[in-house]
């Protein structure tokens, strides 16, 4: 039905001096009804991707499939794709009803049918009571709902959203996040959502495509991105505070692998499978990655994996705390309980959950930990690998 597939898609912008690659050899497979977020910093190619999907921009190379059709040559209005923009793009001199009805009027649908459709959408969006209001009187959240209503009333196969809530106030954003997710589940339309906000992507999407420098970094579920980031970029981009990194070396003793630095030495647990390629035998320099959530701060050194540091700062924020610890010259963040009790400059030990570590090759920045389950999804990641 409305599966969306991007096959080796490139976007190259030609400028007078040189060609700029906006999207590099992107492969994405979005299943029917799935909610996929494209996440990345500004300039990573996420909006270019969305605009190519919508038909607002030409595809330089590659194919885009919507359902059974290749849409490369199909003009935007015939693609049956609806787009919601950040700034709503509503007609301010028209009422809510007229705004939602507009795409249907353009298609020459009878006014009875239009009325039926508009009310159907308005009921789901809970905006029936404001249908006769002018859009200029509405709050940000209401306006966004109207613009979504206008997109949905055409009954599109695919819904595209370009940072639809990023400029709203924090509280309203939390609310709209839940609402958009609920709406998407209800309408069950294949949805592609572009955002630079990791929190939005994590909480809303079934799957996330993380992009950076025009390339796909990882295409995975939110929990896989969090637990097994493919490379250092993803590790740093997902999670707040970001994953902490410690320089270390990979060493082999008998049949076991150890991570060693001047701060710690421990055996990599059997549970974590590591994939070692030839080039990595030459370079044993690694980075140990640990999430702030998986760290515990202790007073005494208990075992060889403990990392000693110096308390720099501690902040409590309601029901949790964040400790900032100096290890060598780096600042490390660890989550703590709200009743944490340490003083500034105190010598402390960082312990951590061994099963939750990640190990990155320092030269390639790739994660060398792979679990059985993820070998399967490796194929799906495709793209830049």
């Amino acid at each position: 039905m409305s599966r969306v597939k991007l096959e080796n898609v490139w976007k190259i912008y030609k400028t007078r001096k040189k060609d700029v690659v906006g999207v590099k050899n992107l492969n994405l497979d979005i299943k029917d009804g799935q909610f996929v977020a494209i996440l990345g910093p500004s300039g990573c190619g996420k909006s270019s991707t969305l605009r190519m999907l919508a038909g607002l921009e030409e595809i330089t190379k590659g194919k885009i499939w919507v359902g059974e059709k290749i849409v490369n040559e199909i003009i935007p209005q015939d693609r049956n794709i609806a787009m919601v923009f950040e700034n709503y793009a509503l007609y301010t001199h028209k009422t809510v009803y007229e705004n939602i009805a507009f795409p249907l009027i353009l298609r020459g649908i009878s006014s009875n049918e239009i009325k039926k459709q508009v009310y159907w959408v308005a009921e789901i969006l809970k905006i029936v009571d404001i249908l006769s209001e002018s859009t200029s009187k509405l709050s940000g959240g209401q306006r966004q709902r109207v613009s979504i209503g206008r997109a949905l009333v055409r009954n599109p196969e695919v819904l595209l959203m370009d940072e639809p809530i990023s400029h709203l106030e924090a509280k309203l954003r939390t609310h709209m996040r839940a609402e958009l997710t609920r709406l998407q589940r209800k309408f069950n339309r294949t949805t592609v959502y572009v955002t630079h906000d990791q929190h939005e992507a994590i909480t809303m999407a079934d799957k996330i495509a993380v992009m950076n420098f025009a390339e796909l970094q990882q295409y995975d579920t939110p929990s896989n991105l969090f637990n097994r980031p493919f490379n250092e970029f993803v590790a740093g981009f997902i999670g707040e505070p970001p994953m902490n990194m410690f320089d270390c070396n990979l060493e082999k003793e008998l049949n076991d692998f150890y991570l060693v630095s001047k701060n710690f030495k421990f055996k990599i647990p059997d549970k974590i499978k590591i994939e070692i390629k030839k080039e990595q035998i030459l370079s044993r320099e690694m980075k140990l990655g640990i999430r702030p959530q998986d760290m515990m701060i202790k007073k005494q050194k208990k075992n060889d994996r403990n990392i000693s540091g110096e308390m720099f700062h501690w902040e409590v924020r309601g029901d949790e705390g964040i400790a900032v610890v100096k290890v060598d010259k780096n600042m490390i963040a660890a989550k703590t309980l709200p009743n944490f009790n340490f003083s500034k400059n105190e010598e402390i030990q960082i312990d951590f959950d061994l099963d939750k570590i990640n190990i990155f090759n320092k030269s390639t920045t790739k994660n060398i930990c792979v679990s059985d389950k993820e070998f399967i999804s490796l194929a799906e990641r495709g793209g830049s690998q």
Partner: protein, 372 residues
Amino acid sequence: MNVNIRVENLFKFYETVEALSGINLEINQGEFFVLLGPSGAGKTSFIKVIAGVEGEDFGDIYFGNKLMNKIPAYQRNVAVTFESYALYAHLSVFDNMAFPLKGPLCKNKEYSPEQIDKIVHKWAKFLQIEQLLERLPQELSGGQKQRVAMGRMLVREPNVFLMDEPIAHLDAKLRHIMRAELKNIQRELNITTIYTTPDQLEALSMGDRIAVINEGKIFQVGKPGDIFDNPVDEWVASFISDIPMNIVNCHLEVENGKYFAINPYFRITLPEKQGSKLSSILKDNNKFDLGVRPNNVSINTSEKKENSIPADVSIVEDVGRTKIFSLFVGDMEIFSKVLSTEFPDNIKKVWIKFDGESLHYFNEKTKARYAI
């Protein structure tokens, strides 16, 4: 070099809009005071009026015992940072920091080049940016830029720091380190600081005390823990936590010496002490609003005997190691925040329980919190 600030009955109008309506505040010497509120609450207006960049329409501002109303901005000896660092891109770090000492508004003193050199080096050393003095702002990291901006404030040895959402635009990844640095510098120098933010986490983590402001009025002033644990009303209770507090309209019933909170969808027992106190406050009108934070709502996959409330799972957000459930009890939406390891993925029906020790009670009409 610090001073206490007292503001009495302060008003500020923009044409007919009341930006500040009758603010009374006392900010102690050396305090890190956070003004927390949504956009449009009056935070920036307050900073501008204190700095003297804009005049007040009514009310008094005191630094120590000195009335400041008529004193122009450059003589108030306050340093202000606005949202961007506003460093001069074409000037080196040294020249950026030296600028306030040479500027046209530096009327009270004339500094010789040697003096300027000494002052800049003193603060650069303090901020650990001595090695950066020759660089241009574009060659600095976000954190270094912040320190230079601090340095430029410090060379004038101000009595008061005013910071208007200084780290709001920064990369989320760096914010926890920025907060730690700012707070440490402020601690060390002990300069009276007013810091505004719309972010409740930032306020809770940085402020010695917080004032919650909305629509130009102060709703509550207190230590972070006090405001979090004893919010003055439903609005503050919701604003101060990252996921708003669940608030449910209930009525109280007493039966065999036990107290029940009753709602069309549930009937739960209240802890005896709280129940009896509530009953003595409510008297005949037995209606009230029950509040419980999402992290005090526990979830079970099977029914537990007492106080279990059946709920339908609407949405589950997986945020790192925690999960946020959006649940429906009848047509009421309830949020719950739990550790993600505790639950399987595709559950539709659950039983929730409110932690009896963490309940809040509010007046149904005024929305004010009962001290229970």
